[in-house]
Each structure stands twice: as C-alpha cells, then as structure tokens.
C-alpha cells in the first residue's frame, strides 16, 4: 500500500474512531429499553460476565470491530454469546451459553532457587608450580534466604512484589584426569543483581576449598593430598558464566604454598550454544 492510500485509510478510520467513541460513552435509548419481550440491557465487561450468565453481554458495536478494542462499559444486550471474549475468555458454546471455566490453583509461596551443571576451568597463579589449566565438571546451587508471598492483585490475578535478593551459594567441581586430581568446593553469599551493567547477574563472596593430589577421595590422606582454603569472589553473567578469583592458603599436605586461583564456571553446554557445530573443532582440546 502506498503512503497516500494509507492516508486515505487513516481518514476513514478516524471517522470510525469517532463513531465508536460515541457508541462507547453515550447511553443509548435502545440500551435502556428493557421491557417485556425486550432483550435485557447490560454493560459489556470481559472482566465480569456475571450480569448475563450463563449467556453473555454482547456489546452493541459495528460488526467487524476487533474484540480487544471494545471498551468495558460499552452498552449491550444480554443474549446468546457470539465470541469467547464476551464470555470473559471462556468458550462461547454452540448453544450460545458460556462454558463454565475451572479455576486454576492460586500461586503458593515460592523459595527461589537455581542450579546448574557446569564446566569449571581454573588456573593457578603464584603457586609452587607454574600456571596450568585445571578443567573439571561440577554443579552449583543458589537458594534464596527467604520465600516469596504472592498477593492478590486487585480483583483478579496475583502479584509477588518482593523478590529475594540474597542467596546462599554452594558449588563444587572435580577434575580427575591426569596424575594431579583436583576437587574444588565453594560456599558463599550471593547478591542477585540482574539490573547490573554488562550482563552481570550475581556477586558472590565466600570461601573456596581446594584438594589437590593423587588420591583426593581419601579423606584422611595428608601424604598424597594437599588441602587449601581461602576467600573467594565471584561474578556471574546471565546466570550462565561465573568468573571466580580465590586466594587459597595451605591447610595440610605436602604443598605448603598458597595460590591465586582464577576460574570460570559455565553452563555445561554453553559453547555448543554459542559456537556453530562446524567451528567447534577449532576449540582447545580441554574445552571440547
């Protein structure tokens, strides 16, 4: 359609606008007629269809008017329904009656929580050995420190205004390939900040524990395993990527050296999402 024909269409529509507006606001003589044998007058309201139940209040508007554009309060007549919306969104049955609609359960209080299988790639700096990547698989969990309380929203619907901002965070990962196995465990408090810039969604302050050695599953073995513990700070992006920096101090074992551990934990299949299949062969081997 050209812009000139659009303009003509617009003028024609403007006339219809004025006519419909007059219909919507002006009480009409026909609507007032409610005598014996006459259809009962009503005010159309798709949010409250009790006036004519089990039939509907059909608004008195020109045929072809988009149903969503008909304002509540438009005068109409009780009678057989002709549209689901005149039945409040329930089905208008072939016999002209509105279907009785089953209620859904009211929302219950919610304990917000989040969990994710992750790939964890960590690098050790300022350590007794040179920096090298430690790639493992892991799991992280965030649970809110409070529950939500849904409230009624006006006449209908529900609203949960106060969403928790503070969560506790638990996570762990294992890298079992190679002679030096690693186990990382972390715990902390997380601030949920989805309005932060550059897609940051969480800030976590906590502690990270590292067990490194040849037999990390042997809990009491201090000869082959070294345990280290220290504070950590983590920043989450879009609930998918979590950058973490920790400084771990030696607790026990043959390694009495501290280290700066810088790591990134990300959703297990994230690279598959971001990188087309045929480009994935260019990824470094550990990340595959």
């Amino acid at each position: 359609m050209t812009s000139s024909s659009n303009s003509r269409a617009f003028v024609a529509r403007a006339i219809v606008v004025a006519a419909l507006a007059a219909i919507a606001v002006a009480p009409r003589a026909a609507a007032a007629a409610d005598g014996p044998g006459q259809p009962r007058a009503c005010k159309y309201d798709p949010r409250n269809v009790s006036a004519c139940a089990p039939y509907a209040c059909s608004p008195d508007v020109p045929e072809g008017t988009p149903v969503n554009m008909i304002p509540a309060g438009t005068p109409g007549f009780c009678g057989k329904c002709t549209n689901d919306r005149f039945c409040g969104g329930a089905m208008c049955r072939p016999d002209g009656r509105c279907s009785t609609y089953d209620a859904s359960p009211a929302p219950a209080p919610v304990w917000p929580r989040f969990h994710l299988l992750v790939t964890n790639a960590a690098f050790n700096f300022a350590d007794s050995t040179s920096a090298k990547p430690i790639v493992g698989v892991g799991y992280m969990f965030q649970g809110a420190l409070s529950k939500t309380e849904p409230q009624k929203f006006g006449q209908r619907g529900w609203y949960t205004p106060d969403l928790p901002r503070v969560y506790f965070n638990l996570g762990g990962s294992v890298a079992a390939a190679g002679p030096a196995q690693n186990l990382f465990a972390e715990a902390g408090l997380t601030l949920y900040v989805p309005s932060a810039p550059i897609a940051i969604t969480t800030l976590t302050l906590g502690a990270e524990f590292q067990r490194q050695g040849a037999s990390i599953w042997k809990l009491g073995n201090a000869d082959e395993n070294s345990d280290r513990l220290g504070p950590s700070l983590s920043v989450g992006f879009l609930q998918n990527v979590f950058l973490r920096a920790s400084y771990v101090f030696p607790l026990r074992g043959p390694n009495d050296h501290g280290a700066l551990i810088v790591g990134v934990a990300y959703m297990k299949d994230l690279l598959g999402d971001l990188i087309p299949d045929r480009f994935q062969r260019f990824l470094p081997e550990p990340l595959k």
Binding site: M1, S3, N6, F10, R13, A14, V16, P46, R47, P66, V67, M69, P71, D84, C87, G88, G89, A90, M91, P94, S99, Y101, D102, S104, P105, A108, V110, W111, P112, R113, H115, L116, L117, Q142, A144, F153, R156, G157, W158, Y159, T160, P161, L163, Y167, P194, S195, T201, L238, Q239, N240, M267, K268, L270, G272, L274, I275, P276, D277, R278, F279
Partner: protein, 354 residues
Amino acid sequence: MAKDLLVPGTSGNKLLLDGDDLGWPSALAAQGWLAGASGYALGLNGLPLSADDIVEIMSMEFANPASTRPTKTTLKAGSAIGPGDVLGLVYNQFLGFDRFVYDFRADVRDSGQHLLDHLIDQRPNGEKWRIACHSQGGLVVAVASKLYARQNGDDDRAFANLVSHVAFIGVPFYGTVNAAVALIKGEELSAGFAASFRAISRTWPSLHQMLPVWPGCVRVRLGNNLTPAMFDAMDPAAWPGANIDLAMLARARATRAQFLDSPLSRMNGVKKTLLMSRAWPTSNHLIVANGAVTVSAADEPGDTLVPADTTFGTAAAVEQDVMHQFGSGGDTMKHFALSVDPFVAAAVDDFFKQ
C-alpha cells in the same frame, strides 16, 4: 509419570541450514554485524558472506497467503531451514525437560500444528504433559489447544485430557511493540545490519502475528496530542509509509481471530499460570505522526517485551485469574532470559507439583 515439555520462544532454538547449525542467533548476528559494518563477513563455509547473502538465507517465502505452510523456508536456492536444538543459555533451568523445537520465524498456526503432533505422538503413557512455554512458545501452545479442541468436536476440555499444567512465561498474548520495532527499525541485531534484518523480519509471519492489539497500542499525533486510535497494529492504517506486506497483516489478523483472541478458551480444566515480570521499562504503543510510524519510549512496567499493566488490563477474566506478576525495579531477568531467573524456575517447578 507426567512428562515435562519446554516450548521455547523466538530465537530460543537453533536453526539448521540443510541440517547444519546455522549459528543463529549468536554467530550469525556477529556475522551480520560484520557484514553490515564492513560489507563482508566469513560464512559457515569459509567463503565471504555479504549482508545480502544473509538476507537471502534467513528470509522466507509464503506464496499462498491462505496457507500456513511456507513455500520456501529460505530463499537460498536448493536449501531449506529447519529447527535445531534448544539454546540452553536461556533455558538452563529446564534442561531435564523434553523439548519441542520449531521454526520460530514461521506462521504460529503451523508451529501449533507441529506442537500438537508432538503432544499426541510423544504422549506419556497414561499420563499428561506439563508444559513450560516462553514468549512466542505460549502462543504456539494456545494454537495447539484450539486445534485439538477442533479435532474433538470443539470440546473446550479436550486439551485437558492431554495436558495437565501449562506455565506461561512472559507470553505476549496481546502482542508486543518489540515485534513492530523489528519491522520498523530492524535493530534487533546491530545498527550495521539493521536494514538487512528489517528486510528479513518482514518475511517472518510470526513477527506480524505478535504485533500489539490492545486498545491504545497505536496512537495518532494530532497537533501536540496523542490520541488512541480505534485500530490496532495489525491494521494497515497503523503503517503509513512503511511498506508493510498487507498479506502478512491479513495473515496476522486471521490468526488472531481464529486462535489468539481469548487464548485460554480451549484450555478449560488445564491448570495454568501466567508469569509476567513488571521489573523493567517496556514500550506500550506505536506513534503515527507525519505519515510515519515510530515507537514510544519504554515507560510501563514489564519485562522489556511484554507490558504488564497493559497486558493485564486487556486480558479477559479467565486470563486475569491466572496472571501472576512479579518483581520491580530491575530485580528479575529481562524477557529473553526470563526462564533462567531463579524465581521463575522455582515458581514453575512448584506449580507443576500443584
């Protein structure tokens, strides 16, 4: 045992070109940006790829306005595009779910038929589906419910024999101004690729089918005043000078009348919740002025795509009854990532147990 199904939203799953991952939206968006800025980018086959090439690949053709099926899923000769895996990036809380993937560019009626086929063919033994659907995915579920009712003598409770729960997450039941933004500006991807994306988006029925239809969604500037028009954004009068495809608008109006007005009317007996964030400024109208259409500032609470007050205010009784709004002041994820929000994930999980 009940089976949980995820129906993602627009761009929520990959697209495959002749069976190969097309890289949409991440890689192709980057390629589009580069092609828009420099003229060329590196294609999937290692050969140079221009913006025109991307338009050719991503555009659809619907030669028969009455058919819900595309005549071409891509304009690239001898090729076809189909749906690929769900993007876990934005659905990482539903990784254990069965997934329904579809071509989110296509006619939602066609997608709804595919979903219904999936629900019937993969139906859990003696049990029902529990569906979590996001954005356009919710419209696809609404279409499927009405198609299933038709198959069963227009029984509004038929769908309840197949599905026990539906959690709608940020579903634009009455449309979204953002669909119009894609058609007007095409800036969904990048400024350098905007014109190309605009050309692409105008071949996608789904975007037209998500145009806003609430009262006041189009406002006309007369002097210094903005007057709500009595037509919606699916009406040609809303698009002066925009050269919008009138057949696409007619397709959208037919879809709305057949399937999306009163979207829950054939889900009687299904437990439902409609989760809507009101934490982010969201646009709620188009402005027609001086023979052109523009988009209003985002100044209503919503999720950046679905305006909460307007959608709630437009909804009929059975829809309002199950609407659950949440959040304020930026304390939820935005629309595209709403499904990874801890509250949303937990609310869906708990709702499925009710």
